[in-house]
Symmetry: C2
Subunit: 179 residues, 2 copies
């Protein structure tokens, strides 16, 4: 059983271990492949003084070791009249692949989004060739709103599309004693 | 004939005059309606030390007076493998509406994007009820990639969709002597 908690500054070395191979591969995120560690930290774990006050970063911990094996960002996709739609991003350790870690963390983040009052979640740029991700989001109730053609240059597969994916979030169940 | 140039810091008071009514109305941008002038400036004209090194801000000048009557932002919509797709945002003075100013400025920005090497332009959040904008972008060759349902709370019309709109940019014509 995975454990989830909010990330803190001391998690950064573990998060960079998850993030660096994804940055260098350049196959799934719109990040510069030569991004250095400091820029990566500003991107993923900017801390409370960061530019986005709605951002929360989560980690998933391996129960046996308490090691960070996955992480997610949750924040408002837009501001003002669009701030009720959440956006999230996920990174799973390569060695944890195929064990349902991403799915479990996504379930946690969807629940957190719902509890935070978001009424929907939107992904802006799911790489079309990232079939595992597309299948995971589809199985979790996301639909493809549209696909921006040739919007991503995959380093191996060449130009491919970016999906916008979306699902509504049903309201959080009231806690005992409420409602 | 309008004149276009890059914005400089001294344009800010004129830009805020354009921007403030749009912020306060809350009908077309995902901005907090109570955004103060300093936050607005960080949003529209952050200057060369801003967080996005790809950002260029343009102004359109009324020929008779040299007054700023419209402005646009142009920048990469995403980083790394997505940095070949431009994004742009536009503000036109209310008193200049209906005179083709937005269309002319859009033409300038599309040309600048093309010359800057972008191969497409994408809008991430065109408010569905903003029929004038949707019609303008459609007439300029943009298509609706998809519409995120109920992603925008219009203060008068209630929940409405946000269109993702997109067009490819043909390569810039070679300058004399090139190619």
């Amino acid at each position: 059983m995975l454990r989830f908690r909010e990330a803190w500054a001391g998690d950064w070395p573990a998060l960079w271990t998850l993030m660096e191979p994804v940055v260098r591969a350049g196959e799934t995120y719109c990040w510069e492949r030569d991004m250095d560690e400091e820029a990566a930290r500003r991107e993923w774990l900017p801390g409370p003084a960061g530019p986005d006050p709605t951002l929360t970063v989560f980690v998933a911990l391996e129960p046996a070791t308490d090691c960070v094996i996955a992480t997610a960002q949750l924040h408002a996709n837009r501001g003002g009249p669009g701030a009720h739609v959440a956006n999230a991003s996920f990174l799973v350790a390569a060695e944890a692949a195929g064990r349902g870690v991403g799915r479990a963390l996504a379930g946690h983040v969807l629940a957190e989004a719902r509890e935070g009052g978001y009424t929907a979640m939107q992904f802006n740029a799911v790489v079309q060739t990232n079939e595992r991700a597309v299948a995971l989001w589809t199985s979790l109730g996301f639909g493809i709103v549209g696909t921006v053609p040739r919007a991503f240059h995959h380093p191996v597969l060449g130009p491919t599309g970016l999906h916008i994916m979306h699902r509504f979030l049903e309201p959080a169940a009231p806690a005992d004693g409420e409602g």
